[in-house]
Symmetry: C2
Subunit: 294 residues, 2 copies
């Protein structure tokens, strides 16, 4: 079968053997934002057409491709949700040459009743569920919209989202802080650590943001540290808020190593045990959901 993790800014495809082994893997920048309305079948054919020609007849999609801006909108499945519920809620997508189904996103309410949504992360979590076991676990999936989820018995119980990655880009690029940093500069461990340490202090995030500006006026923030300081500050505030809501350590980190390693540093600073999941979580999750559809 073909597993597809189709997000906002990238498209990842996996050719999977019946036992779930990834036989091949391709990653392109053809995220859903680059696809014109009506262009999804062609965009998919461009990337996996040769696999379909070679005989693959089943495709399973997950991620933002199931959102209102995607191929077909798949309604959110309320938590708690495990592989059975998710498989049962997949929807068929018209496509010529293969059977294409779409994994729904998952929704819940935070403890104050405010809505929460994810698309794609539920598949990654299904992919690590068998490895983390049945006991309640906390999962962190860093990103533009970072997720902190609770799982037990292989089911996603609930989660909260933090706008951390997007807030970084907006603040680093569109406030007075832009004058003192290059948002794409190399990671600076000292700056990042200072930012996390700052997040542990009182005063609030909005105050801490201005402090970064003032520190530069007094030559107390070297330019090469500034962007990493901001990153550490925001991630530190995210981690602090997540810990306050309660986690069951060790926190399982899912995602690209460049990002999960930052969260590992921040969790270290808070003294919270953590471990990283294998990087093939999405492919594994797609395989496990597809197994239930056979």
């Amino acid at each position: 079968m073909i597993g597809v993790d189709w997000g906002t800014s990238s498209l990842r495809v996996y050719r999977l053997a019946p036992d779930g082994t990834a036989l091949s893997h391709r990653c392109t920048p053809r995220g859903i934002l680059t696809v014109e309305p009506g262009g999804f079948p062609d965009a998919l054919r461009e990337v996996v057409g040769d696999w379909i020609t070679a005989g693959e007849r089943r495709v399973l999609l997950s991620g933002m491709v199931g959102s209102r801006q995607g191929w077909v909108e798949a309604p959110y499945l309320p938590c708690p949700a495990g592989v059975e519920e998710i498989a049962a809620a997949t929807i068929q997508v018209p496509f010529d040459g293969a059977e294409v189904r779409l994994v729904p996103g998952v929704s819940c309410r935070d403890r104050h009743g405010v809505a929460e949504v994810m698309r794609g992360e539920e598949t990654q979590m299904i992919g690590v569920a068998e490895r983390i076991g049945a006991a309640e676990s906390s999962i962190c999936l860093p990103g533009s919209h970072s997720k902190w989820a609770r799982m037990a018995g292989g089911r996603v119980l609930g989660f909260t989202t933090h706008l951390t990655g997007e807030a970084f880009a907006a603040l680093a690029g569109h406030t007075i802080l832009a004058r003192m940093m290059n948002p794409s500069s190399a990671h600076d461990a000292r700056g990042f650590g200072r930012g996390v340490a700052r997040a542990k202090q009182s005063g609030g995030l909005l105050h801490h943001l201005f402090g970064l500006r003032a520190a530069s006026l007094f030559a107390e923030m070297p330019e090469e540290e500034a962007a990493s300081f901001l990153s550490g500050l925001l991630i530190g505030h995210e981690v602090a808020a997540a810990l306050e809501e309660g986690v069951a350590p060790p926190v399982v980190l899912i995602g690209a190593e460049a990002l999960t390693s930052r969260y590992a540093e921040a969790l270290d600073a808070f003294g919270v045990p953590h471990r990283s999941a294998a990087p093939d979580a999405a492919a594994r999750g797609l395989h496990l959901i597809a197994e239930r559809l056979a």
Copy 2:
């Protein structure tokens, strides 16, 4: 004399009688960001040249005009700072036709030793000092960079800054939230109140920001409320952080009514008494500092 409150985006000038009465007042959008290097004398002459021709010989400037991007850089005066210290630290600025002096900005350290700076707000606070009396008071000056200051005996003891106004503009205009709001839409009291109430809940600001997005997906955030919700959320987080650091009520609000009224609403939601200072704080402060220079 002529009092000048010259900020980043606006230039306000006052013709003041010897007793401090404002005889005339002009406001232009000639903030320092619109002035070319070397262009400050001409920019000032454009706005107050006729008053100088009419016989005014003394000009006192305050605000960002004393920053590195301004006319002449005036070093920050460390807190505590009252009218005597500030007058003694004014610096002379070369100008043909009048004696021009510049009020320095003020600096301090927050409780964790991080630098803090202001330029212009110290003059406004001097302007209200006689009216708030000698006891320790908390002053809030909302803006792009909101200030919360403590004063006693007419002197600024210390303050903290929050990047609230700039964070609003960056988040409303340059994240996924931009799709669901018009940052310049009319104030919506219900949305603002909901945002402040949300700020009082647990979960952290970065989580609350995403909740705004998710609420709109579930039709739980009418478009006309969204921008005011974001404003209330950010101001609510600022107020919560300031209260946690400790204030001496009633909080004195200084600034334009359109903005101080929002902070008044937020302080009401937190049950904290407040009052508004007279709107001529800058002119009064410039007069009082100039008196010490006679």
